[in-house]
């Protein structure tokens, strides 16, 4: 999450869900929390019961809006205009938290004279190279004063992933020139003022389609509820991330929260609501192409990464906590390659593959559709229904040589060869498909990392049935077989595999609750994997107590340094801790939060520069002068004994270069970044661009869309023309509480299908009247990529907006349906396109264009749904007398 990482240092939600009840105001935007995260939503409701104001800003009136004090409708894709308006309001009316901003942000830092803002260049920053569609590092001048104009490494434009030091912001001087009086026109504060001065309430209303009054009410609420005594929180989800400007939307929220002084404080922060049980975990311990565990960059052939020494020289950042980077990298290599990793062979560094291109999901599936990928493993993901422009993804699957599907049910991505809107002839599909049935979460043990960075262990209740197996079993046994197949090979390319440490089986036979022995042969012990993730001393296998124990000399091994401390000693799996701490909302003994069990990040900022709480009402951690340490309700996200008065001596590096009043320890200057000299490819400040498909001109600049947007597959992935008259309606995808993603975990489940049985499309009564669409009857939505159908849900939850003086209609399409399962229906993602944010290759599903009409598709052939399952089975509960059998069952 570079949006948060660039602003604060770590790409993760900054607080914990329970803390939302401490908020005085919660701005929910880009999230339908009540619908998508209903149980987490009880904390905003608790805040409301205590008098907090809840605000929902969204294109679509939802269950969340219904529970808020204020709802503001906006046009899908206009979020930066709205947030930029709030930033402008805070600055124009001098409502920013002066002491906080001056001490904890880079407001006073001076920016290079070379920098030219969008204000002067009509929507582009200085140094844009139109031919390369990238900012020229020599000319862009985004850096702080007295820094070199080019960063240490520079990624060529065709490669989307930045180097580590680019992403983090490599600066040579951790105390850059600044002007605390804020008089210098080159200081960040003045650049911010001029950048956002055109985001006036009038302009916000014109672009977003809300009224000025609605906007001003929100602006007043967040200002009145911020400061020493009060805090405002912001909640977002994929309603912000799935845009071609997603990273910059989140950056804009970061700027607002820094200006209002809400970061690192109780009831403040930015709560990123993630969608999957362990989606945070799967970026921390990444199944991602550009990262090694713990946000260590994957070595890249496009940079000078030929040797470990060169890799470390390139990537290491001298100031702040990341100065320890080399210890984490060497410990990771030791965890992977064990005794074969030696100082002489660079700890096995040469066995780690290099990336030379963008291998993220979207470009990989475009290559697959072109026949350039032969084999694919799917682990609980369903691109045939869930990926943008899903039709291309189905085509991609039909172009594979072989495919392994790990799932519970015959999902779309398993039956694509004989089902689907294309009605494929199996005789023409070459793909060899292996469906290896998976274990349910109740049938295996392991840890999930939830949206607040909290690792929670789930115990195993029973064995999975028949041939169903955990993914741990599958990967482990696949690895064992491959090691056998390659045994004896002397090829350099096979040495990584042969040297991989690979021994995770139970030391004692696995015993199930109730005392029976597991019947699964060779199930790996997930705790052994977690121990490796935690780290140990190589010589004696003793677990390390945390990442500060890790060494660069090969004496420690650690699979993911940020999780180090989760298993600090024998018998103590902290993810498995389930102890409540009455009176402490942080619940330090329930699960384990990375890093180091800190529940709120950057919490040094909850105290003033001298170390005292900003107010009694909002106290959290503070400096205890008597004990000479930080103390309070949480683990300090700071060196525990570094006094507020500490000032780094000249020339200091690592944590020694972070002052005692600098809460953002992962940033080289210790400051929250209002202005990002590095870390975001498309500009140091968020700027409003229209979605790639938009029926509206950019009213702020002549630059229409994000100048660096990623586009793929011209022919397979057509995009509507600018202001295309064929597609005047704005569409956004949406979620329902009763369904989950593209349906693999809900459309095979009769209880949920009974609650939400049918695909529908929501539209306003006005649009329905214009197109003669009746509520409850069939309707079609189409664009240049596909056409889908559904029942019309004519509702006031969507309303026409007045944008730039004319009426604009929006529709909302739930994306949960497909052609497998007990309920079938059109796939919303057949309409979405493969265009993406330039920072992270995230697609734009939350704003695109289409047209609607009454009626059905021409081809009304659909795949038959599975029969609805009985409730839930007609079998008796085992070992239970008749009198205790459930109601409704035949005794």
């Amino acid at each position: 999450m570079p949006g948060l990482g660039t602003s604060f240092g770590r790409g993760a939600a900054t607080g914990y869900q329970q803390d939302l009840q401490n908020s005085d105001c919660i701005l929910i935007m880009g999230s339908n929390m009540a619908e998508a995260h209903p149980v987490g939503f009880r904390f905003p409701i608790k805040a409301r019961e205590r008098g907090a104001k809840l605000i929902h800003v969204d294109p679509h009136f939802t269950r969340t809006s219904a529970m808020c004090s204020q709802y503001v409708p906006i046009r899908a894709g206009s979020d930066i205009a709205f947030l930029g308006g709030l930033i402008n309001y805070v600055l124009e009316n001098e409502r920013w938290f002066r002491e906080y901003v001056l001490a904890y942000t880079n407001a006073a830092t001076l920016v290079s004279d070379q920098f030219v803002d969008t204000d002067e260049l009509d929507g582009l920053f200085g140094g844009f190279d139109a031919a390369k569609r990238d900012y020229d590092p020599e000319r862009k001048g985004w850096h702080y004063q007295d820094e070199p104009s080019t960063p240490k490494t520079q990624t060529p434009p065709e490669i989307k992933v930045e180097s580590f030091s680019e992403r983090l912001g490599f600066i040579q001087n951790p105390q850059p020139p600044s002007d605390p009086s804020l008089a210098d026109p080159r200081c960040v504060m003045n650049i911010l003022r001029s950048h956002y001065k055109r985001y006036t309430p009038e302009m916000v209303a014109s672009i977003c389609g809300c009224t000025q009054q609605e906007f001003l009410e929100v602006a007043e609420a967040v200002c009145q509820n911020s400061g020493r005594e009060r805090t405002t929180a912001i909640v977002y989800a994929v309603g912000w991330t799935q845009h071609s400007t997603g990273v910059q939307i989140i950056r804009a929220a970061g700027i607002l929260q820094l200006l209002l002084g809400n970061m690192g404080r109780p009831g403040g922060g930015i709560m990123a609501m993630r969608g999957h049980a362990s989606i945070q975990g799967s970026t921390d311990v990444p199944t991602l192409y550009d990262l090694l565990p713990g946000y260590i960059p994957q070595p890249a052939a496009i940079r000078n990464h030929n040797s470990l020494r060169e890799y470390l020289e390139q990537e290491q950042v001298p100031h702040g906590y990341w100065a320890n980077f080399h210890k984490f990298m060497v410990s990771l290599l030791k965890a992977w390659y064990g005794t074969a990793a030696t100082a002489e062979n660079e700890w096995g560094y040469q066995w780690v593959p290099r990336i030379d291109d963008n291998y993220s999901q979207l470009p990989t599936f475009m290559r697959m559709a072109d026949g350039k990928v032969k084999g694919l493993f799917l682990f609980g993901q369903n691109p045939a229904g869930g990926a943008p422009n899903a039709g291309i993804n189905r085509k991609a699957l039909r172009n594979l040589d072989w495919l392994v599907v790990r799932d519970w049910f015959e999902i779309e991505s398993a039956c694509f060869w004989y089902k689907g809107p294309e009605h494929p002839d199996p005789g023409t599909v070459k793909t060899e498909v292996f469906f290896i049935p998976a274990a349910a979460s109740s049938e295996k043990q392991g840890s999930f990392t939830n949206t607040q960075r909290l690792l929670q262990w789930h115990d195993k209740a029973i064995d999975p049935p028949q041939d169903c197996r955990s993914d741990l079993w599958f990967v482990y046994h696949l690895g064992k077989r491959l090691k056998q197949l390659y045994a004896g090979s002397k090829e350099l390319r096979d040495q990584g595999l042969l040297n991989l440490t690979w021994n995770y089986e139970y030391r004692q036979p696995e015993i199930l609750p109730g005392g029976a022995r597991s019947r699964i042969h060779g199930e790996p012990d997930a705790e052994r994997v977690l121990r490796e993730i935690n780290g140990y001393t190589v010589a004696d296998g003793k677990l390390v107590s945390g990442f500060s124990d890790l060494k660069e000399d090969g004496s420690t091994a650690c699979g993911c340094w940020i999780y180090s401390g989760v298993f600090p000693e024998e018998g103590r799996n902290r993810a498995r801790q389930r102890k409540r701490t009455p009176g402490n909302l942080t619940e330090p003994e329930w699960g384990f939060a990375w890093p180091h069990n800190r529940r709120m990040l950057y919490n040094r900022a909850s105290a003033d520069p001298e170390g005292n709480p900003w107010s009694d009402r909002k106290k959290y951690i503070w400096w205890d002068e008597k004990l000479r340490k930080w103390t309070g309700l949480d683990e300090p996200d700071f060196e525990p004994d570094k006094p507020p008065s500490y000032r780094p001596p000249p020339g200091s590096t690592g944590m020694a270069s972070i002052a005692g009043d600098s809460p953002f320890i992962m940033k080289p200057d210790g400051k929250g970044w209002l202005y990002a000299p590095a870390g975001t490819k498309d500009g140091p400040l968020p700027t409003h661009y229209e979605p790639v498909e938009s029926p509206v001109r950019n009213l702020l600049y002549s630059q229409q869309e994000n100048p660096m947007v990623e586009r793929y597959g011209d022919l397979m992935n057509p995009i509507a023309d600018l202001l295309d008259p064929r597609y005047p309606v704005v569409a956004t995808t949406a979620r329902l509480t009763e369904h989950y993603l593209s349906g693999p975990m809900s459309r095979f489940n009769s209880w949920l299908n009974e609650l939400q049985p049918e695909m529908f499309i929501e539209l306003s009564p006005e649009l329905a009247a214009e197109r003669n669409i009746q509520h409850g009857s069939w309707m079609v939505a189409w664009n240049c990529r596909a056409a889908i159908e559904g029942k019309a849900m004519v509702t006031r939850r969507l309303r026409p907006l007045t944008v730039d003086g004319r009426t604009l209609h929006q529709i909302a399409i739930p994306f949960h349906w497909g052609f497998a399962g007990e309920t079938v229906g059109s796939i919303a993602n057949d309409l979405t396109s493969v265009v993406a944010d330039p920072n992270v290759s995230m697609h734009e599903a939350k704003a695109f264009t289409c047209e609607v009409r009454a009626g059905r598709l021409e081809d009304t052939r659909t795949d038959p749904p599975l029969p609805m399952a009985a409730w839930p089975t007609r079998e008796r509960a085992p070992d239970t007398p008749d009198s205790n059998q459930p109601e409704g069952q035949v005794l």
């Binding site: 199944t287 030929n306 593959p353 990336i355 999901q361 292996f434 949206t451 029973i462």
Partner: protein, 185 residues
Amino acid sequence: MSLFRHTLRTNSMGRSPERAVENQPFSPPSVAKGSRLRGAEVTASVCPYCAVGCGQLIYTKGGRIIDIEGNPDSPINEGTLCPKGANTFQLAENPHRIQKVLYRAPYSHRWEEKPLDWAMDRIAEKLKNTRDADFVEKKDDTVLNHVTTIASLGGATMDNEENYLIKKLFNGGLGIVAIENQARI
């Protein structure tokens, strides 16, 4: 009997054998009635749907799951679950669930059931053949040591330990680079 019990349900609070003896209007079967969860093994778990992270309790008897409820001890959900969380039971106990390995040969019109070991061997072989054919050690003078014709997708619904092994084996062992999951930003 069943009908009789239902007519009494609204009055059945606080029933006990003693009160039945005292001529209270409860039939002996009503008095004997109890929760099927009584005597079950209870296992602490976490909801596998969204990232809120609700705690769950799994009730098992005789090697079968008989119920999954919210864990009242969890500070996150304090015993509550949403409709999806409450449905976790149906992810495991479900007639649509596939419990045998299914195999579809190229151009075939049908699935075939296959032994797990056969499938694991064949997948390992396919993986090795593709890797051996397409592995790239160097481009010009730059080390690559990777293979780009094999991809892996998924991970956000799975355990950290499982993600760790996927990345370790596929990337650190085999040189596969196109490893991705639902998370991007």
